[in-house]
Symmetry: C2
Subunit: 303 residues, 2 copies
């Protein structure tokens, strides 16, 4: 087999504020490898079909490739359990689980995140109210639909009118654009809330604390507002004490052993049949990765 380009997206510099494609990430297509002979060092050689954009992996190293969730086909393997031709889904070496049905997007990690944390932490009761942030994304839109299936009232926010329309289409009772409407006013009017699905942190978390009922559950899925800019801090955490709130952070990988079977038995089929709806944005080519990462963090994706 002829030598091929092994294009990589390298982590080039720690972002000061938002990532800048070409500066904080660079595309490096200078590496040429021979698929037959490149040393595996006990690992496996994969061929990817396309990169994915979701996730916030920890501790990239300067000059090293960025990793992320992906689906790939095994070309060669020195790793027990992975045979050439197998499809694998993972962001790690060795890739696990080796499942027949491998997905990214809403049937993959983001969908798992929504499903597994909702089942584990929401303690949802029919008639309660949930506030979902980033409701237009693959995590938030799954949470909205799971909450409706559980009989909850859903308040959902996103940063564009197209996303607001999508959130209404999938069943949100109240959907609003946080860039043009005041979150606290909406929560005061349509709340109080029993569950907060937090994807954003910062001021929005303050508003959710303000609008929380006693014994509210705060599911800390992410705090994207704090990733890039030094936030001013959350000043009303006393509500946690007064209102007996539980706030929980989690990693989906730690919930998989408990929930993977029921997730894969149920969710991919519901997505395929259209009973659970989703929307995705596809970018092709590793050369787009830097821009896609920057867009996601500024909320400019899927507009």
């Amino acid at each position: 087999m002829a030598p091929v380009k092994n294009t990589r997206v390298l982590f080039n510099d720690v972002p000061q504020g938002y990532p800048i494609p070409g500066k904080t990430t660079v595309v490096d297509d200078s590496q040429i490898i021979d698929l037959e002979t490149v040393p595996l060092n006990g690992a496996i050689l994969l061929k990817m079909r396309e990169p994915t954009i979701e996730s916030y992996p920890a501790s990239y190293r300067i000059g090293e490739p960025i990793d992320s969730y992906g689906i790939a086909v095994v070309l060669r393997s020195e790793f027990e359990g992975a045979q050439p031709g197998d499809h694998v889904y993972s962001m790690e070496t060795p890739p696990e689980p080796f499942v027949d049905d491998t997905y990214v997007g809403v049937a993959g990690m983001p969908g798992e995140t929504a499903y597994m944390a909702w089942k584990e932490y929401s303690k949802a009761k029919k008639g309660e109210t949930v506030f979902v942030t980033s409701g237009g994304g693959p995590v938030g839109s799954m949470v909205i639909q799971l909450a409706k299936l559980d009989g909850l009232k859903v308040i959902a926010s996103a940063g564009s009118d197209a996303k607001v329309q999508f959130m209404k289409d999938i069943g949100a009772d109240v959907a609003f654009n946080y860039k043009t409407e005041k979150t606290l006013d909406i929560l005061r009017d349509k709340g109080p809330i029993d569950i907060y699905w937090d994807n954003v942190g910062g001021e929005t978390l303050e508003y959710a604390l303000e609008a929380a009922n006693a014994h509210a559950r705060f599911i800390e899925s992410g705090m994207i507002s704090s990733y890039n800019t030094r936030s001013q801090g959350v000043r009303n955490l006393m509500h946690i004490v007064y209102k007996r709130i539980t706030m929980t952070g989690f990693f989906v990988a730690e919930l998989r052993p408990k929930y993977a079977d029921e997730f894969y038995a149920w969710i991919p089929e519901k997505l395929a049949s259209g009973e659970i709806k989703f929307k995705e944005q596809v970018s092709r080519g590793l050369d787009k990765v830097g821009q896609v990462i920057a867009d996601v963090q500024r909320g400019r994706n899927s507009e």
Copy 2:
């Protein structure tokens, strides 16, 4: 029976910053009642032996008496279940529970707070490390001793050298004065921590988040640093996500149904025998209440 003075501490003004005795609270001894004839309106008339200083009751009303936990003897009663001569322990009308053993202080509400929340939320495992703030108080000192009984390493902070000595005497492995030593340095050196018993909030909560291990449990017992002054906010809540931290607020009253029996079967006896140690500060007379409240909030009690 001759008419008697019914001295009351009235809530006179909402504190701007710390409470000021004589301004935010006033002692009113102008009310004269006849014990035999004062209307009960279905309630009970109590005689208190002494006031207590612990607790942070919600929503006092201007011009109305301040209530708190206390022990009293029933003088007259129109309430079913309370007979003259009964001892009652409560901060509410009707007072519940009517237990034979009635206590304030470490055998009462603060001790219950420590015991019940520790049992419910700490998930303590032998060999783990806990950081206890306000470790010289009736809640914190009980937590220190419960943690040692569970085989944990205990780091404890307080605001005076006398309290630091007391924390060492009751078994804290690391005890320090947060006014003269840097909390973050201590936690970096002696941590990381698996459990944080929060009585203070604010910057100390930031340090605890910084020093937390994965899957740390934060028990939100109080945030006294935020009661009186507008805090700058907690800026590093992202650790909740990254480290999969659980933060829980609670009210002891909600834990009593589950834990009251074991608490009262065990703790008062251990306190009496000296196996569990405690320290208390006694102030006599309702005229001291305003100053005592202000001292507690500035950490000037028990120095």
